[in-house]
Each structure stands twice: as structure tokens, then as C-alpha cells.
Subunit: 112 residues, 4 copies
């Protein structure tokens, strides 16, 4: 993740684009990339999507959109001084505590 962050920092600095990197703008850019990802998935059949997304040319298209989302997410975290990797590992552990395996096996998490 640090490698991506550093590459993005160089890219931005070389173009003097730091001035556009306010968090709300980066988040909207991330939303734009999530939207492009959604466009690639929207009409796929739910139960065939996984296989179709592993076939070309869709695989490359979807890989690139996911990468775009990641780059903006890493950039947003960088602006906010967030150590994404560390927080993500902590959050997965917190979810493990929140959903004990014996009570939640095979049951979709309830978000309502």
C-alpha cells in the first residue's frame, strides 16, 4: 500500500496537483470510479457475474476500475493521515468479534 501511496504522491507532485487534492474532491473522484465499476457489473446475472468477470475483455476493464478506486482511496487516506493497512486489519478483527462464528455461520449479516 505504501508503494501505491508513494507512486501517487510523486505523480501528484510532478504535476503540481496537490492544490486539487482536498478530501471532498478526492472522495467525489472515488465515487466516479465506483460508478464506472458499477456500470461494468450492473446488468450481469448475479449468479454468473463472478465467472464473467474473470474472462477477458471484462477482466481487464474491471481490474482497471478497481485500481482507480484504490488509488483514490489511498490518496484520500494520505490526505487525512490514515494508515489504511493497519486500520483495515484492526477492523477485520473487530468484525470477527462482532459476529461470533457460532451465531452467524451461514446467515447473511443483518444491516437493517
Amino acid at each position: 500500500m505504501n508503494e501505491i501511496r508513494d507512486a501517487a504522491r510523486v505523480f501528484i507532485a510532478e504535476r503540481d496537483w496537490q492544490q486539487f487534492q482536498d478530501p471532498k474532491s478526492i472522495l467525489l473522484a472515488l465515487v466516479g470510479e465506483v460508478g464506472e465499476l458499477a456500470e461494468l457489473l450492473q446488468w450481469l446475472p448475479a449468479d454468473g457475474a463472478r465467472d464473467q468477470l474473470r474472462e477477458e475483455p471484462l477482466h481487464t476493464r474491471v481490474s482497471e476500475e478497481m485500481a482507480d478506486v484504490l488509488v483514490y482511496l489511498v490518496g484520500l487516506a494520505d490526505q487525512c493521515g490514515v494508515d489504511l493497512r493497519s486500520v483495515a486489519l484492526t477492523k477485520i478483527q473487530a468484525s470477527a468479534d462482532k459476529y461470533p462464528t457460532d451465531q452467524h455461520r451461514g446467515v447473511a449479516p443483518d444491516k437493517t
Copy 2:
């Protein structure tokens, strides 16, 4: 990134939640987390957002939402057989080629 992917895989396998991990569902879950991130930023003043996001308690809140986005993104990539790190580094290089520094210094990228 592999560390996060592996932790997420274990979490899902232990709960037998693989059955819910179709790509469209994961993407909607990611959209949900992007939405929570947006709610934290939406009314912040554009020019003060960066500093406010570095102060507690907002810093922790926003860190966790970014981590949630990352975890779903890594999970989606895992379902689709995408090596996120590698594609992201390639995409940053492609952007560097697309926006030569001498023509784009200090000019916001035109998305229209």
C-alpha cells in the same frame, strides 16, 4: 494488501459467508461504505476538511470507513482474481503517460 485479503478470507470462511460473496452484492456493500464516508465529509468546509479530518474524534471515524471500503474492494478483487496492487501501480504509470507534466502542471484534469 495480501495480508488484508487473507484476513478477510479467513473471516468469511469461518462464517460460511462465501455464499453471499457474489460480486454485485460486494459492490453494493462497498457503495454502502462509501456512503458512510460521504456522510462524514459532506458538510465540512472544502478548505478546512483536510485539517478537521486529522482531528479526533473525526479522524478515527473516517479511518474506519476508509478501511471498510478497502476491505470490500480487496474482497471484490479477490472474487474476480484481480491483483489490485499490481494493476494500481500500472494505472498510475499509465496516468503519468496520459498527463505529461509539461502540459498539465497546475491544471485540473479535465473529465468532461
Copy 3:
């Protein structure tokens, strides 16, 4: 639609919230509501979602999130001087021209 716009205008004016109604902030608020909608749908089975969304208590929950999306969309259009209703009707007609019935019957629109 004008009724919703006018009610939202009164609501905003009475609280002196016009100052927060810049388009990027409203769009992030809309993204937040889309995220809440996504959270309600994410783990529903694709082929059972329609029926489940018509049953309480999910029906009321999802109705309210859709309404929140609409209110922010109407507010954003209002800020930008957009006549949403008229543009929407024109766009549907444009889509009808773009996808002639004889060539597109029963075929998912290709967004790739």
C-alpha cells in the same frame, strides 16, 4: 417534483442552511443516501429482492432512503437551475432512439 423542490426550499431557508448548499456537498449527501439504500439491498438474494422489498418493515425503510436520494437530487438540480422533470422525459426519448426496439429486444444494454 416542483412540490418537493418548494418544500425543500422552505426547509432550507427556515434554517438558514443555504450556505451549506454548494453542489459538491449536496452530491456527497446524495452519495450518503445512496449508500444507505445499498446497505438495505446488498445481501438480498438477487431473484428475491423485489418481493422482499415490498414487505414490511423493509418496504418502509427502503422507501425512506429512496425519498432521501430524491430530495437531495431535487436540491442539487435546484442549485444548478435544472428542470429535472423535463430533462428526464427528454432523456427517456433519447434512449428510445438510441436502442431501437427491433435490435435490442431482450438483450441487456451493453455498457462496456
Copy 4:
């Protein structure tokens, strides 16, 4: 709103696209349109966005993306049997009750 819903219904029926209109797919399509809208706004300066969005050619571009969001939202509501207009008016009234004018005048709503 009913006019838009009815035009969309005819459009879908004429192409036999009802089969693709499951709620999760429509929501992803909506996310795609929100993403396109975000791409148009992302790098605009926060305090100049409103004026820039009222000028051509951006005004037409942004109008069309907003209309696309609306069409999918109306379609999603239609699938779920939701009377969007009525729920939206009720929600605005509920917000008015939740944020009394005397306590919230000039203060950004707290979403944290």
C-alpha cells in the same frame, strides 16, 4: 413523477427489458449515473461550482446525468411499489420536526 415512471415503463416493456430490472441491478445502474455526475463536479472549486454548473456546456452535461439518476430512481421505486413523491414530502416534514428552526439555524446538520 408519474409521467416519468410511465415513460420508463413503456421504454422497458417495448424492449422486453423487464427481465433485467431486478432491484440490485437498477441500484448499481443508479450508482453508475451518480458516478458520472461526480466526475463532472469533482475538480470544480467548491465556491465556484454553482456558477460553473449553470454555464454551458457543463449545464447540459450535468442536467443529463441528474436526469439519468432520476430515471433509475423512479424505476427502482416502481419495482418496489414505492410512491416516491408522497414519501419525499413526508420525509421533508419529518426533517423539519427533527431539526427545529430555533436550534439549528445556521448550523450544519451533524451527521457524525
